[in-house]
Structure formats: C-alpha cells, structure tokens
C-alpha cells in the first residue's frame, strides 16, 4: 500500500499539516482560555506569540556571544518567563481597568495592545527579517533509514520532531493542570460561571493570573515552534496566525482547551490537505486559497453548530 503516492501524501501533506496544526493548537489554547475566563477575544495574542519568538532569539543570541549554543527549546524557558511578565503587565494596566465595563472596550484595548507590541518589536529589533536558523533542514537520517527498512520512507527534519514532542508534552501538562490541580479546577469553575465561582470562595484574580501564565507559556511555545519551522522572524508573523487560531478555538468550542487542540489540528490539516490532488493531477483547491479553507470551516461551524465540536460556549 505504501507506494510513491503514500510517500508524497504523508511527507508533503500530512506531516506539514500536523506541524501547522500543532502551532495553531498551542495558540488556540491561550485564546480559548482568555475567551472563556476573561470573556474577551484577545487580539494581542498573535503579537505575544511573536514577541516570545523574538525574546527566544535574543536569549539565543546573547548565549551565542558567551560561546554557548542554546537549543530554541531551552531558550524558550527564560523567554516564556518574560512573556508571562508582559501578559501580567498588560492585564494590570490595560485590561483590568475595563474588566467591569462592556466587552467591546477590552477587545479594543487588546487591539491597541496588538499594535503597541508590534511597533515596539519593530523599534527594538527593526522591521527587517531576522534569521532564526540558517540554511535548509535535512531530514532526520535515523528515522528515514529506519522507516525505509520497514518499506516506508519518512522524511521528517529534526525541527518537526521537536515541534511534535513539545506540543505533546505541553498538552499533557495542561490536561494534568486542568484536571488534577486545585487551580486548574478553579479555572474551569470560573470559565463555567464567574459569579458562582466567586460565591464558592474561589479567588478570581488568582485564576485570571493563572490563565495569563498558562496562555503565556502556550503562546511562547507556539511562537518558538513557528520560527523553528520557518527559520526566520518577522514582525507580522503572529498576526498572520491569529485568525486561523481564532478559527481553531471556535471550531473546538470556546472555553474547551482540548477542543482548541483538536480544532488547531483540523484547521492545520484542512489547509494543507485541501491542496492535495485528490481528484486527478491538479490540486483539489488552488493553494492560493488555502487560508480561505480555515475561514470556510469557521463560518460553517458558526452557522451549523455555534457551540463548537466540544460543546463550548456559544455567543
């Protein structure tokens, strides 16, 4: 069954789709948590992702001066701490004052934050692209040898293996946090009903801080995975991921982290697989319209099942 056709499908469509899906998934987790606990669509999320990637790049560059070669996944740790501080700072000064007013105000505040963060990054690091990793990524030789012995040739570069592993670890850690720990249960309670949660003695402010921390870690990871994949940094890259991530969050159901992961994978796969020549030799859909696929799915979902696949909140 494993012929040239399968080789091409798995290596050039399925795996890139999963890589993209992992990145969307991690970003969508942050979006869905903020949406359910703080009740607003955080437009600055993409820029936070982007700034996380820039901070990781800076950590790697500084370590490089000291003669150390840091792996992006290591550099991600201090970067995530800074991103969490950035998240908590923006919440304190820009979102908290609007917490009891209409949602539209805080949505606009987040829109403003998006522009502020992007401009700040352009001022600090410049508008030019930065190289994250130079050259082209060769496939992992061990994996391709091993798989070709088994009669199927897998060509996956190391960067993709790291992205898969990183995403799996973060999702497992997140599910432990939400299901087994006190703060995780409190987060779910606030997501269901903030007033009721407050009455039962849950510290809502603490839950909000926890939300930003979880969102910050996921956003940094998503940003770093994105630059690991494309190997360069660019100031609008976070914004370009924002809308597909919203689509993923809505597809999975607002407030459902697993839904966000599932939605991210579905959107990532749908974008890549729509260009596969399912019928005949030509791509099913011209790759020029890939982005449209994510939004078509989102619009159909909002009409047919507004609460999302995982029965999230509907608005």
């Amino acid at each position: 069954m494993w012929d040239a056709f399968g080789f091409e499908f798995v290596n050039f469509y399925l795996i890139p789709g999963l890589v993209l899906g992992c990145i969307y998934a991690l970003g969508a987790i942050g979006i869905t948590l903020t949406f359910s606990i703080l009740r607003f669509a955080n437009f600055a999320h993409g820029e936070i992702m982007m700034s996380g990637a820039y901070l990781s790049w800076t950590v790697m560059a500084i370590a490089g001066y000291a003669g150390l070669t840091l792996h992006p996944l290591v550099a991600m740790v201090p970067a995530a701490l800074l991103v969490i501080l950035l998240f908590l700072g923006t919440d304190k000064f820009f979102y908290k004052p609007f917490r009891n007013s209409e949602t539209i105000k805080v949505v606009m505040a987040s829109f403003g934050m998006m522009l502020i963060i992007r401009s700040a990054v352009q001022v600090i690091w410049g508008p030019n692209q930065l190289t994250f990793v130079r050259g082209i990524a060769k496939p992992n030789p061990v994996l391709s040898d091993l798989s070709s012995d088994l009669g199927m040739m897998l060509i996956i570069p190391n960067k993709h293996l790291f992205i898969f592993a990183g995403t799996i670890i973060i999702v497992i850690a997140l599910s432990y946090l939400l299901n087994q720990t006190r703060i995780g249960k409190a987060m779910r309670a606030v997501s269901d009903s903030p007033d009721l949660a407050h009455v039962t003695g849950i510290d809502v402010d603490k839950v909000i801080r926890a939300t930003w921390i979880v969102g910050g870690i996921c956003a940094t990871a998503a940003g770093v995975f994105l630059v690991m994949d494309v190997q360069m940094l660019e100031t609008t890259m976070g914004f370009r991921m924002l809308l597909p991530m919203f689509a993923a969050a809505i597809l999975g159901g607002i407030g459902k982290p697993y839904g966000a992961v599932f939605g991210g994978l579905v959107i990532g796969l749908a974008e890549e697989l729509s260009a596969y020549p399912w019928i005949g030799d030509a791509p099913l859909l011209s790759p020029g319209y890939k982005t449209g696929v994510a939004f078509a799915i989102m619009v159909v979902m909002l009409i047919v099942r507004p609460q999302g696949l995982f029965k999230g909140r509907s608005f």
Partner: protein
C-alpha cells in the same frame, strides 16, 4: 461644526510650511521588502539634498521637503499613508509607493481623484500602464514587467530550460509578471508544466512545492522574498522538489543568501531592472551616489533618485507648487528637445529653466523618456551567486 473646525485645523497645519515645497514619499519601510527599500529611500533623500544644496526651489530658494510615510507594501496602508500626505500634509505631488499593489490602490482611490501627480519608483506591474484612464497622473521610472517577463523567458531559453513549473504569489505584481512570463515562454516554444498561485505569508509551502515538483525540475518563482518567497524556496530545497530556480526582482535580496545559504543557491538566477552602467548619466549618478554612500547599482535605487529629481524639475518648471498641470511639465523636462541634464546637475537645470530654456533629463536608471502611458523603457540584469554574493550582469 466640529467637522468644520477639523478641516480648518488641517488646512492651517497644511499651510504651516507654506514657504517650502513638500513632496510626499510613501515607501514600504516595513512589510515584506524593507531591505530593498532602505537604499531607495536614501536615494530620494539624496536627490532632495542635492537640490537644496544647489539653490533649492524657485527664484527665492525655497527648501524641498521629503515628507516620508510608510506604505508597508500593502494597499490598505498605502491608501492611509497617501490620504494623510495629500489631505493633512498638503503635498504637491507623490513620489512612490514602491510595490505595484499599493501603487495601483493609492492611485485609484486617492491620488487620481485628488488630481495629484504620482511617480512610482519601482511599481513594475503591467496593470499600472493602462489605469490612468486619460488623466495622465501616474508615471513610473522603472520599466513595466511586460518587458521583464519577456527578458526572463529569454533567459530561461538561453539556459536550455525547456520545461518549467510556475509558482506565483497571489498579488498584483507577481501575478502580472508571471502571466507575461508564461505567455512569452510558451511563445518561444517552452512548456509550462504547472502554473499555480500561492498565498503569501504562509508558514509552510511543502504541499505547493510537492504538487509542482512532480511536473518539472525547474521552478519559475514569482514572490516577494519577505512574504513567503524564502520559505517556499527553503521548502523546495528541503524536499528536493526542484533543482533550478529562476525569478524576478521580488526575490533578489541578500536576505535570501543570509537565510538559505549561498551553498544551497548555486542554481538560482533572478532578473531585475538594471541600469546600463556605460552611459554618461550613469557615471554622473554613480559619482554622487558613491560620495554619499548610497549603493548606486542596487535595484531601483537610481530609479528612486530619478523620480525625485524629475518631480522637482517639473515643479521648478511649473514655477509654483500647485498640483495642477504638473504632468505636462514632467513630460517637457524629461524628453527632447532640450539641454541634457544628468543626475546632480540641479543648478544648471535651474538656470536654463529660469532663462526660459528647455531641458531633457537623463537619469542613472535610463533616459526616462515617458511614453503616452507614463511608462519608460528599461534594461534588465540577471543575478547569480558568485563567491557568496549576488553578481549582476546586464542582459543584452
């Protein structure tokens, strides 16, 4: 009431610099090609500096101001930027924007309705040729891609590439040049094995290159380096989908070498608008550019200088900074008959114009004689990597 007040304030602001001549200069300072734009902006500033150093504008030596704005190589951003330049800054004319999409968008929705003359420095889409609709308000100092696409097809043929797959970014510039290329190439007997658009700014193009890579060894890539071109090329190299690459100036950047590595780009050739470096005007341009530390032969840099210099000449010839009737003067100063004027010769040109004489500007980028659509003819060069850097060679 409030609105009237706003309008009055805007008018006051605009007239604040009444004694100077203001030219709006929207450039893609951010966006997908900032590396290419930075030296172009420097060339515009250099032209203004030369003019101000040699007596400024008009008999009373008014200063020429460049009012820069960021068009971000994006139609929406360009419309915002040019609207502000025209309505708030009250500029006399527009030099820029750099990318074709924004140049067309701003001309259609802002500068043509406002009756403001535009000279684009690098918008090369064939779509720009016929868009003025009889208003004669849009000019450019770079040749239309209707010519570059043909030059590229000839280059492919000369390199014995007989079949090729085409991938172009879905925007005004890249879609138009790829269309010209496909027509010219097929006309010369080549085979286009596949022709697909790609969406700019995606994180991955593996499925695109896989689909196209099945059909040919060779890829004609029309994309901006900063909005997906580099990623697409990297994906194509990673998956060994293609061995030979050709393309147009959107991809020609040091950033490509920096990110992908010269050792991986041995089979890549890109064309760009170029200057014939053997002409006297080019020598004059190179002398002043070298002195000012501006890279004289970089893509569109002489074109940028020429655009600014000619716009100033047109305003000088008109004798006032009014917007009306400038295009007639622009045609007069750029073509025969008249005394030849080369880059940097502002004082000479000013003296001749003051005496009521005719001038004919010839720039570093070419003779800059506009045809009836405001287009110029041009030369092209091909660039390949030699010793880790792009080396350009003029295509004859």
């Amino acid at each position: 009431m409030k609105k009237t007040l706003l309008v009055t304030t805007a008018a006051l602001l605009a007239t604040g610099s009444l004694a100077d001549v203001n030219i709006g200069n929207p450039m893609g300072m951010t966006g997908p090609i900032p590396d290419l734009v930075a030296p172009m902006a420097a060339a515009v500033d250099l032209a203004a500096k030369n003019i101000n150093d040699q007596g400024g504008m008009f008999a009373d030596g008014q200063a020429l101001n460049v009012v820069r704005a960021d068009s971000a190589c994006d139609p929406a951003a360009a419309i915002d930027a040019v609207t502000k330049l025209i309505n708030v800054n009250g500029v006399t004319a527009i030099v820029g924007p750099v990318c074709s999409g924004p140049a067309i968008a701003q001309a259609e929705s802002v500068s043509i309705p406002a009756g403001v003359l535009t000279i684009s420095v690098s918008a090369s889409s064939p779509a720009l040729t016929m868009m003025e609709d009889g208003t004669d308000l849009v000019f450019r100092t770079t040749a239309s891609d209707a010519y570059q696409g043909v030059a590229l097809a000839e280059l492919a043929m000369a390199n014995d590439i007989t079949d090729i797959a085409v991938s172009y970014a879905n925007d005004d510039y890249n879609a138009a040049i790829s269309e010209v290329f496909v027509q010219a190439y097929e006309g010369m007997g080549g085979t286009i094995t596949a022709n697909e658009a790609h969406e700019p700014n995606k994180a991955s193009y593996r499925s695109e290159v896989a689909t196209l890579g099945n059909t040919s060894e060779n890829l004609a890539l029309f994309s901006y380096y900063g909005s997906g071109g580099i990623t697409l090329m990297r994906n194509a190299l990673e998956t060994s989908a293609f061995t030979n690459f050709i393309g147009a100036d959107g991809m020609l950047s040091d950033e490509l070498i920096e990110q992908i590595g010269a050792e991986n780009l041995t089979n890549a050739t890109f064309t760009t608008a170029a200057s014939d470096s053997s002409t006297p005007p080019y020598a004059a341009w190179k002398a002043i550019a070298d002195e000012a530390g501006v890279p004289a032969s970089d893509p569109f840099v002489p074109n940028s200088y020429d655009a600014m210099f000619m716009m100033a000449l047109a305003i000088e010839a008109a004798g006032s900074d009014d917007r009306e009737g400038l295009s007639e003067h622009l045609r007069a100063i750029s073509s025969a008959p008249g005394e030849l004027i080369y880059p940097g010769q502002w004082a000479e040109a000013k003296a001749i114009l003051a005496a009521g004489g005719d001038i004919n500007y010839e720039g570093g980028a070419g003779n800059q004689d506009f045809d009836k659509n405001g287009d110029v003819a041009g030369n092209f060069s091909k660039s390949v990597i030699v010793n880790g850097a792009w080396a350009a060679e003029l295509i004859q």
